[in-house]
Symmetry: C2
DNA sequence: CGGCCGTTGATTGGATCCAACATTACGCTA
DNA sequence: TAGCGTAATGTTGGATCCAATCAACGGCCG
């Protein structure tokens, strides 16, 4: 394993037993509500990829994963297919699966997608937001203030954004937004490293919610666009700084 | 099989042998460039769903499909997983796969996604379009004028739009656009039925290309937005008219 | 007569086995 | 010694078999 950021093929470094099944293994159904082994494998692999335990370029050997998860190769194969469709792994026929590399270009891509979709979702959602939904968003902002763990912070951020868009209707659009927000978690660590604790982001979050409370669609959209553009610029700067 | 549009569960009506393997079966590698049975099954099923031969609500029995394709159940299973990730089939654990229903809400969802993503892609692409790419787009417009078959017309329309966005960079964004454009094919027949032959659409296509030729980004964006909004309205009217 | 429960059939999820492909290493030849 | 062809090996793709689950049917009991 050479570099956790660039996309070179590195030696397979699957998650260790301690990482993947502290207690999940004992009661898989209860722990995560998984109904099939495929869902279980997919959920664990996805989490491991998104939080960086499986860096870009890691080769994913089916047999090795199957052994660690305590299942046969088949659920692993199906889980890998699902992850491929989510652009988290690349599969080549007869050559196996590799964790998708992250890069400055991919980050810019993700931000462009988010900018387009989230602005549209926000426009559609604000006029229909209920008081309960706005309160939920406010709760999530408060929770982010006192959350030290980067992983949970990413989840809270994701839930906040989705809460704001929840009234947009358009289930498939929201699903795409959620997917992109999840993918963004892979870059969150760099964002935090380059940007302290993101006090600015919290300011933007509050501004967006305030605008939503007042029903000022365009004001909220403007904040969101600036929010995303600044985040994109931060990531781009980070990659430039390290020659990515 | 009751209604090809609404989403009620209907009897399984898989593609017939004549539909799925006229000669593809004889030389699968050459015919479509498929490298694995899974790719083959996925491509055929996807085409059948998109062009309406497998209407929404059709139950997809693994064994039945496997028999018709001349393969075992496993490639079918993996292909269904891929299609599920593309929102073309719904899979429920232990209960099988069903072709995703189409509806007014789903159509509106798709248009909202397209409006957001394609506008963004067009903005990014126009400044970087090469003369060759613009010529390609012009060729596709001309081809659409003299294409009677609805299926091929949809493909040409897809290629035209993608040609306009090709210079946007952002591979993943373009991939999403392509996916949505493909999904749109399911609604194209209704669009044509309700709207004659779409003379208006061709007018918009030419206007977009002209604006792109002159580098007028905002003019092209305005046409695209109107183009999509009108198409969305046509589909909505169609569904309203038939009580959908 | 109606609702609940166990049983049966059909279908999918998972495991194991075999075949096909890709990569690598090796040896032969020019 | 460099290059090519071939064989060996490891990995994935596909087939078959078994287990688990769901839906439907029928019988039993209230």
């Amino acid at each position: 394993m050479l570099d956790p950021i660039n996309g070179r093929i590195v030696d397979a470094r699957p998650v260790t037993a301690a990482e993947i099944s502290p207690l999940d293994r004992l009661a898989p159904e209860l722990a995560g509500g998984w109904r099939t082994a495929t869902e279980y494998v997919e959920a664990i692999l996805k989490a491991a990829i998104l939080d960086g335990r499986l860096p870009g370029g890691t080769a994913l050997r089916q047999e090795e994963l199957a052994a660690r998860f305590g299942v046969s190769r088949m659920p692993v194969r199906e889980a890998l297919r699902q992850l491929e469709a989510q652009a988290l792994v690349d599969m080549l026929p007869h050559r196996g699966a590799v964790v998708t590399a992250i890069s400055a270009a991919d980050a810019a891509d993700g931000y462009a997608i988010r900018r387009a979709l989230e602005v549209a979702a926000l426009r559609l959602s604000i006029p229909n937001l209920t008081a309960a939904q706005r309160a939920e968003a406010a709760t999530l902002i408060a929770a982010m203030d006192s959350e030290p763990d980067a992983g949970r912070l990413g989840q809270l951020n994701r839930r906040f954004h989705l809460a704001l868009y929840a009234a947009a209707g358009h289930a498939r659009m929201l699903q795409l937004v959620e997917q992109e927000l999840s993918a963004f978690d892979r870059y969150l660590r760099f964002h935090l490293a380059a940007h302290g604790r993101g006090e600015m982001a919290q300011h933007d979050h509050r501004a967006m919610l305030d605008a939503a409370d007042r029903g000022e669609v365009e004001a909220a959209v403007a904040v969101l666009e600036r929010h995303l553009d600044q985040a994109a610029a931060t990531i781009a700067r980070f990659f430039r700084g390290r020659g990515g």
